[in-house]
Subunit: 358 residues, 2 copies
């Protein structure tokens, strides 16, 4: 016999509500607080499921805990608890004892999908990143990372090789959006400087759309090895060259039609960015454009959620980085000599694009 | 100039949708995946805000980042990013540069509220707990905790003293619900055995409602010190005695009207629980009842969310624990000799109550 005690049931005749300090008051629920105390388990569950390739197993029709456990070499009890948890989170479905992939999981977490993004966990949830949040209290006190003097933006930090190897899939959609916004399909002579190129996907994708585009990729030498591999795989290596070093120190050259600044400016404070943007301005041809991909919150800094929360990652992992509003980007570009900037927000991805005209 | 590129805008005349592998297909959004990769930051942000007493500062009308930072002895940039993040999460409101407390935060996170639950972070997010999830992959493989042989259920694990000290506020509401369900206000002779009493709140609350109730609290000796303090504060110490040791080994005595099993059975497997329940059955008077407080998922094990996800904590921190369904509890109690069990689910708290009759 199972019965649901409703809120009415526990209001006593005198009108006193059970368990709340003020009689008759609306009752806040500690459930959301409990959920937040335990939110770290969502990250842990996703990492475990990716490590054990649970989504691929289910996509491949191993749908019971027993079958998935056998394929993953894991305990059935462990898999059952993990898959139930992922079902509550909305990444799996459950029908009797059979698990299925929810649409997001089928698209992004089944290794056989061309849009597979599971590898992104290796960068976003790298041990160094998680460690940076172990003592967030100290970072809030200090106003910046406690990971060491420079956090992730230190010279040749090896995390950027991991970034280049693991984040490419998550950047395919933004790379395609940028190619569309700069009309890469129209072709024509186009010299592109890709600053902090990482995996190189943004420049490479322009080169794939425009057979006349020539890309110069700048990053730490170790990271450029990954970009060169990707350029080779995409068959654009004859139009792909590299500039190893720091964007703040290396000589860019002149006459670029496009300079790409993807996921880079958020690591630094506005004066540092303006110094870089003056260098970018000087490197552009008279009709050139800077293309910035960024998490851009609205002026209230609390919407939209994914752009607004990005500043927390910068607080945890950099000395002075931030998620800048479009007004702040406009000011930085304007101070660096750019004529005007435009903001393109995408409804289906967390980042948006700022195009700034020389 | 800021412009919103809508999904329609990026659908080219040919009908190809930008950035998706299949033309025209509905577009899953990687945003939720990104959010999950970063979910651990929600826990970190809540811990930092509690440590720095941000909610109390705001409740006390220090509403700008500058004011909160001064009071907390923290950097304004750190506080601004933290408070924006908590606003996105729904625990704060923001109006221009002024932060306010959302209802849940005002009730549970302002230290001046009688329902303050911030201390619960010290148990729920204790370093040992977070560490147990560092390698959840290994726990899923093994099917149980990798925290050491017994996890949190090892003999005299000091985490239970932390539990007793920090979890009392979160248990005030369930303690009140239990007192109501056993009609403590009706008074009359009532001998209560409170197994794994912890902070002692469940027994103490019955004693407060019923002046004739006599409580025997069982737990590790170090934990019972906390329960005795609480009994003293509540003025019920003359009717409060203790039984130090393991519930599996200590002699309970006889003739109890109530035996409380709050947040205890989830740590063990069904055979272990049945062994304990036979002992409980023997200790009860003929008209006695066992009162169990637990996270009880429905038979599908994936609803309601807070009860269903609790099994993950047991996977991470115990060798064999679980969140049991009511059918499973019914079976365990029945196998131990109980006549019948009833399930009371509360809409406003994540746990529910099972009452089992001798």
């Amino acid at each position: 016999m199972s019965q649901l005690v409703t809120r009415e049931d526990v209001v006593k005749p005198q009108g006193e509500v059970v368990g709340t300090p003020s009689a008759g008051a609306a009752m806040p629920n500690p459930g959301r607080l409990f959920q937040t105390f335990n939110a770290y388990q969502q990250t842990a569950a996703m990492r475990a499921a990716i490590n054990l390739d649970v989504f691929t197993a289910i996509g491949d029709r191993q749908t019971t805990a027993e079958q998935i456990a056998e394929r993953a070499g894991a305990a059935e009890r462990g898999i059952r608890i993990l898959c139930d948890f992922l079902t509550v989170m909305g990444f799996l479905t459950k029908n009797e004892s059979h698990y299925g992939l929810a649409p997001d999981a089928a698209m992004f977490l089944d290794r056989r999908s061309p849009a597979y993004m599971g590898s992104a966990a290796r960068f976003l949830d790298a041990p160094e990143m998680l460690k940076a949040f172990d003592d967030l209290t100290a970072a809030v006190r200090k106003g910046g990372t406690v990971m060491g003097e420079e956090g992730t933006v230190g010279v040749e930090n090896p995390i950027w090789v991991e970034f280049a190897r693991s984040m490419a899939p998550m950047m395919m959609m933004p790379a395609e959006v940028i190619s569309q916004l700069v009309d890469a399909d129209k072709g024509g002579k186009c010299r592109v400087l890709d600053i902090a190129a990482g995996h190189g996907l943004f420049g490479i994708n322009i080169a794939r759309h425009n057979p006349q585009a020539e890309i110069v990729a700048l990053d730490w030498a170790s990271v450029l090895e990954v970009a060169k591999e990707n350029a080779h795989k995409s068959g654009v290596d004859s139009r792909y060259s590299t500039l190893p070093g720091s964007a703040f120190e290396v000589e860019f050259g002149k006459g670029y039609d496009l300079v790409l600044l993807t996921n880079f400016l958020h690591h630094f404070d506005p004066p540092t960015n303006e110094e870089l943007l003056r260098k970018v301005h000087a490197a552009l041809a008279p009709s050139g454009r800077a293309v910035t991909l960024e998490f851009v919150p609205n002026d209230d800094r609390v919407t939209p959620p994914e752009a607004a929360t990005f500043s927390m990652i910068m607080l945890g992992s950099t000395p002075h980085g931030d998620a800048y509003t479009f007004a702040e980007f406009e000011r930085m570009f304007s101070n660096a000599g750019f004529a005007r900037s435009e903001h393109f927000r995408q409804p289906f991805m967390p980042e948006s694009v700022v195009i700034s005209y020389k």
